[in-house]
C-alpha cells in the first residue's frame, strides 16, 4: 500500500485545461475584468488538498493586480459560513459550500489493490492501478471544479464580491488559521439545524401576502425534493453502470488473453470481440452519467440555499408581524411604546431589505438554473451521440472482418 499510496497521493496536480465539470454548473457568470478568480493549481497530499487560488483584479482594495494564495477546504467553509452568519446578506442566496474532498472510496480500493498485489498477474495489476489512478484523477478534478465554482459565484455576485472576508481569503498569503469544527461545535451545529428546520416548518406554514413569494415557496419545496430524489436515483444508476462496465472490462481482458494464446481461428475471434467491448461501456459510465449527476447534485445544494433565503425572509416576516402585534399591544397599554416602535421599525426594515433583494435573487436563480440545465442536457446528448457513433463504427468494422473471414 505504501509505495502506491505515495505515488498517487502526492504531487497530483490538476491539469487545468482538461475538461472539468466546471462548465456544466458554471453558466452565465460574467467574468468581468474587475475581479476574476480561479483555481490555477491544486496539490493532493496525504490527507488534504491544497488549492492555489489565483486572483486578477483592478479593484483598488487589493495591493496588487494579480496574486495567488494557497487555501484548504476548511478555509472555504469558513468563508461560506461567514456569509451565512452575516445578517447583511440575509437577503441573498448564499452560494452553496463546496463538498469536502472525499477520496475515501479511492483509498479503500487502493488498499485492496495493495493487499491483492501478490494474487494477480502483472498486467492485471497495472490495469487496475491505471483504473484507480483515472478514478482518483476524476474525483480530484471534480473537487477542484466545485471549489472554483463557489469562488466564481461569490466573485460574480454584486454584493458578496465586496465582502471583507472574501478579500482576506483571496489575498492574505498566510494560513487563515481556521480550524475545523471540534466535536462540541459540531454538536451545536447539529442542534442548530434541528431547531432551524423545526422553525422552518413553522415559518413556511405562514401564508405570504405576496403572490410571488408564496408561489416560490411552494415551488422550491417541491422542486428541492424532486431534485434530491433524481440525484440519488442517478447515483444508483451510475453505480450499476460502473459495475457493468467493470465486468465488461474484465471480460475483454480475459478474451484478449485467450485470444493471444495461439493463432487458431477461435483466438482470432476472441481478439476481435475484445476490442469493441473494451471501448464501449467504460467511457459511457464515466462521462455522460456524471454530467447529469453533478448537475443534479449542484442544484440540490443551490435549491437548498434558495430555500434558506426564503426561510430567512419568512422568519423576518414573522418577526415583523410579531413586532406589529407587540406595538399594538404596547400602544393599547401605553407601556414601552417607544421601544416597541423602534423594534417594529427594525423588523420592518430588515424584512423589506430582504424582500427586495430576494426577489431578484430568485429570478436570477431561475435563469441560472435553466441555462445550466440547457447546457448540460445538450452536452449530454452530444456526448452520448459521439460515443454511440464511435462504438457503432467499431462494431461494424469488427463484424465486417468476422463475416468476411471465411
Amino acid at each position: 500500500m505504501g509505495s502506491i499510496a505515495a505515488q498517487l497521493f502526492s504531487g497530483l496536480s490538476r491539469d487545468i485545461k482538461s475538461g472539468s465539470s466546471l462548465g456544466s454548473v458554471n453558466v452565465d457568470l460574467q467574468t468581468d475584468a474587475t475581479l476574476q478568480v480561479d483555481i490555477s493549481d491544486a496539490l493532493s497530499e496525504r490527507d488534504k488538498v491544497k488549492f492555489t487560488v489565483h486572483t486578477k483584479s483592478t479593484l483598488p482594495n487589493f495591493k496588487q493586480n494579480e496574486f495567488s494564495v494557497v487555501r484548504q477546504h476548511e478555509e472555504f467553509i469558513w468563508l461560506h459560513d461567514s456569509f451565512v452568519e452575516n445578517e447583511e446578506y440575509a437577503g441573498y442566496i448564499i452560494p452553496p459550500a463546496p463538498p469536502r474532498p472525499d477520496f475515501d472510496a479511492s483509498r479503500e480500493k487502493l488498499q485492496k489493490l495493495g493487499e491483492g498485489e501478490g494474487s494477480m498477474t502483472k498486467e492485471e495489476f497495472t490495469k487496475m492501478k491505471q483504473e484507480l489512478e483515472a478514478e482518483y484523477l476524476a474525483i480530484f478534478k471534480k473537487t477542484v471544479a466545485m471549489h472554483e465554482v463557489f469562488l466564481c459565484r461569490v466573485a460574480a455576485h454584486p454584493v458578496l464580491r465586496k465582502d471583507m472576508n472574501f478579500h482576506v481569503f483571496l489575498e492574505y498569503n498566510q494560513d487563515l488559521s481556521v480550524r475545523g469544527k471540534n466535536k462540541r461545535e459540531k454538536m451545536e451545529d447539529f442542534f442548530k439545524n434541528v431547531v432551524k428546520s423545526a422553525d422552518g416548518v413553522l415559518v413556511a406554514g405562514v401564508k405570504d401576502v405576496d403572490d410571488f413569494f408564496e408561489h416560490e415557496k411552494t415551488f422550491l419545496l417541491e422542486y428541492h425534493n424532486r431534485v434530491k430524489d433524481a440525484s440519488s436515483k442517478s447515483d444508483r444508476m451510475i453505480r450499476s453502470h460502473k459495475n457493468a462496465a467493470d465486468d465488461i472490462n474484465r471480460i475483454a481482458s480475459t478474451l484478449y488473453t485467450l485470444g493471444t494464446q495461439d493463432s487458431t481461428d477461435v483466438c482470432k475471434y476472441f481478439l476481435l470481440v475484445s476490442l469493441p467491448l473494451q471501448k464501449i461501456e467504460a467511457r459511457v459510465a464515466a462521462d455522460e452519467d456524471l454530467k447529469l449527476a453533478d448537475l443534479l447534485k449542484y442544484y440540490l445544494r443551490e435549491s437548498q440555499a434558495a430555500k434558506d433565503l426564503l426561510y430567512r425572509r419568512g422568519r423576518a416576516l414573522v418577526d415583523y408581524e410579531n413586532a406589529n402585534k407587540a406595538l399594538d399591544k404596547a400602544r393599547a397599554k401605553n407601556k414601552d411604546v417607544l421601544q416597541a416602535e423602534t423594534s417594529q421599525q427594525v423588523c420592518c426594515q430588515k424584512f423589506e431589505k430582504i424582500s427586495e433583494s430576494a426577489k431578484q435573487e430568485l429570478i436570477d436563480f431561475k435563469t441560472r438554473r435553466v441555462a445550466a440545465f440547457r447546457k448540460n442536457l445538450v452536452e449530454l446528448a452530444e456526448l452520448e451521440l459521439k460515443h454511440a457513433k464511435g462504438n457503432l463504427q467499431l462494431l461494424q468494422s469488427c463484424v465486417g472482418v468476422l463475416k468476411g473471414d471465411t
Binding site: 433524481a230 465486468d247 465488461i248 442536457l377 454511440a388 457513433k389 468476422l402 463475416k403
Partner: protein
C-alpha cells in the same frame, strides 16, 4: 500434419424445438424436416420429456464414449448450472429459464445429428421418429449435481493417469493441456458474464427508477421548455431501461449460454481422452499379464511339471491374442479421438464465430437505437430557453 478427409454433409436435417407445453409435465415438440432417405418421412413432429433427452445422452455415451467419441452432453437439470451463482430471482418456472432450456436442448440435438457417426445410431433415429418414448431410467445421475460430479470424477482420474502414461504421441499430451487450460478460462469467463448479466439487469431497473424521478422533476419545473425537455429525457431513459434489459438477455443467451455449452462439451472431450487412457491401461495390463504367464510357463518348464504346462501354453496364447486386440483397440481409439478432436475444433470455431457475430450485432443494434433516441432528444434540449 495430416490432412483431415473432408466429408461433405450434403443432407438436410432441420431440427427445432418449440416451447414446452405442460401436459402432465413438460413436453417438447420437435418439428423435424429432412431430406435424408433413412427417415420414414420428410417432416415429422414428436414430443419428448426432458428426461428423454437425458436418456438419449446416457445411451449414446454408454455406446460411443468408450470408443473415443465426443458425445455432446445435454443441459443440466438444475438452474444453478455450472456457476453456482444465483443471478437474480429465477426459478424453474420463469419464462427466461424455460426459454434457456428450450434453446439448450435444441442446440444439443442439433449437435448430435450433426455428428456423422451419431446420426447413424439407431437410438438417435428412434428418438427423432418414435411416437411414444418409454421413460428413461437412471437419469438421476445425469441431473444437475450428479452430472457435474460424474464429469469431475472423470477429470480427476484423468489427471492422476496422465502422470503414469508414457505418451508415444506428444500430440495427445499437448491437446489435453490445451483443453484443460481452455476449460479454466471458459469457466472464468462464464462467471464474469453471469455477473455482467446481473449488473445489467440491475442497471435496467435503476435506469427505470431514474427515468421516473426525472419525469417528476420535469413536472415540477416551471420553465415550460425545460419542463418539456426533462420529460423527454425521462422518455429516453425509459427506452434505455428497455435497451439494457434486452442487452442483458443478449449477454445471457448469446454469450453465457455459448460458454456453458462449451464448458460441458470440453468435459466430454476430456472424457474421450480418459477413455483412450483406459484402453491404453488395459493394453498395458494385458502385456503385464502376458509377461506373468510366460514367467509361469518358464517356471513350470524348469520344475518339469508337464501336466500344467499345456494350461500355461493355452494361457499364453489367450493373452497374446488379448494383447494384440487391446493394442489394436488403443490404436483405433487413439485415431478416433484424434479425428473427433479435429472435428470438434472445427465445429467450435464455426459456433464461436456465429455467436460472436450475433452478439456483436446485438451490441450494434443497441448503439443504433441509442443514436436514434439521443438524436430525437437533442433538438428538445437545444430548444430550452
Amino acid at each position: 500434419m495430416q490432412l483431415e478427409e473432408e466429408v461433405e454433409d450434403k443432407f438436410e436435417l432441420n431440427i427445432s424445438i418449440t416451447n414446452p407445453e405442460k401436459v402432465g409435465e413438460f413436453h417438447y415438440i420437435s418439428p423435424f424436416s429432412t431430406t435424408l432417405p433413412m427417415f420414414r418421412s420428410k417432416t415429422f413432429t414428436v414430443r419428448r420429456r426432458f428426461s428423454d433427452f437425458l436418456g438419449l445422452y446416457e445411451k449414446l455415451s454408454d455406446k460411443h464414449t468408450p470408443n473415443g467419441y465426443i458425445v455432446p452432453p445435454p443441459p443440466e437439470k438444475s438452474i444453478m448450472g455450472m456457476t453456482k451463482v444465483k443471478v437474480g430471482k429465477e426459478d424453474n418456472s420463469s419464462a427466461e429459464f424455460v426459454e434457456r432450456r428450450r434453446a439448450a436442448l435444441e442446440r444439443y440435438l442439433q449437435r448430435v445429428v450433426f455428428h456423422p457417426s451419431l446420426l447413424q445410431d439407431p437410438d438417435v433415429r428412434e428418438f427423432l421418429e418414435r411416437d411414444d418414448m418409454p421413460r428413461a431410467h437412471n437419469t438421476q445421475a445425469l441431473s444437475g449435481a450428479g452430472f457435474l460430479k460424474m464429469i469431475n470424477r472423470a477429470t480427476d482420474s484423468l489427471s492422476k493417469m496422465t502422470i503414469k502414461m508414457n505418451e508415444s504421441d506428444v500430440w495427445f499430451e499437448e491437446k489435453l493441456q490445451e483443453v484443460e487450460a481452455e476449460d479454466q478460462q471458459l469457466r472464468k469467463l462464464h462467471i464474469m458474464v453471469d455477473s455482467l448479466v446481473g449488473h445489467r439487469k440491475e442497471l435496467s431497473v435503476n435506469t427505470g427508477g431514474f427515468a421516473k424521478s426525472v419525469a417528476m422533476l420535469g413536472s415540477s419545473e416551471d420553465n415550460t421548455a425545460l419542463s418539456r425537455a426533462l420529460s423527454q429525457l425521462a422518455e429516453v431513459e425509459d427506452k434505455m431501461e428497455q435497451l439494457h434489459q434486452e442487452q442483458a438477455a443478449s449477454d445471457s443467451f448469446c454469450f453465457a449460454e455459448l460458454l456453458a455449452d462449451y464448458i460441458r462439451l470440453l468435459g466430454s472431450v476430456r472424457a474421450s481422452f480418459d477413455q483412450r487412457m483406459k484402453t491404453w491401461q488395459r493394453w498395458q495390463d494385458a502385456q503385464n499379464m502376458l509377461q506373468k504367464k510366460r514367467e509361469t510357463e518358464a517356471k513350470l518348464l524348469w520344475a518339469n511339471k508337464p501336466d500344467k504346462l499345456q494350461q500355461a501354453k493355452d494361457d499364453i496364447t489367450e493373452w497374446e491374442a488379448k494383447v494384440t486386440q487391446y493394442e489394436r483397440d488403443f490404436d483405433r481409439v487413439s485415431a478416433t479421438v484424434r479425428k473427433e478432436v479435429l472435428r470438434f475444433e472445427k465445429e467450435k470455431a464455426c459456433d464461436f464465430k456465429k455467436q460472436i457475430i450475433k452478439y456483436l450485432e446485438s451490441l450494434l443494434q443497441s448503439q443504433q437505437q441509442l443514436i436514434k433516441y439521443w438524436e430525437a432528444f437533442l433538438p428538445e434540449a437545444k430548444a430550452i430557453a
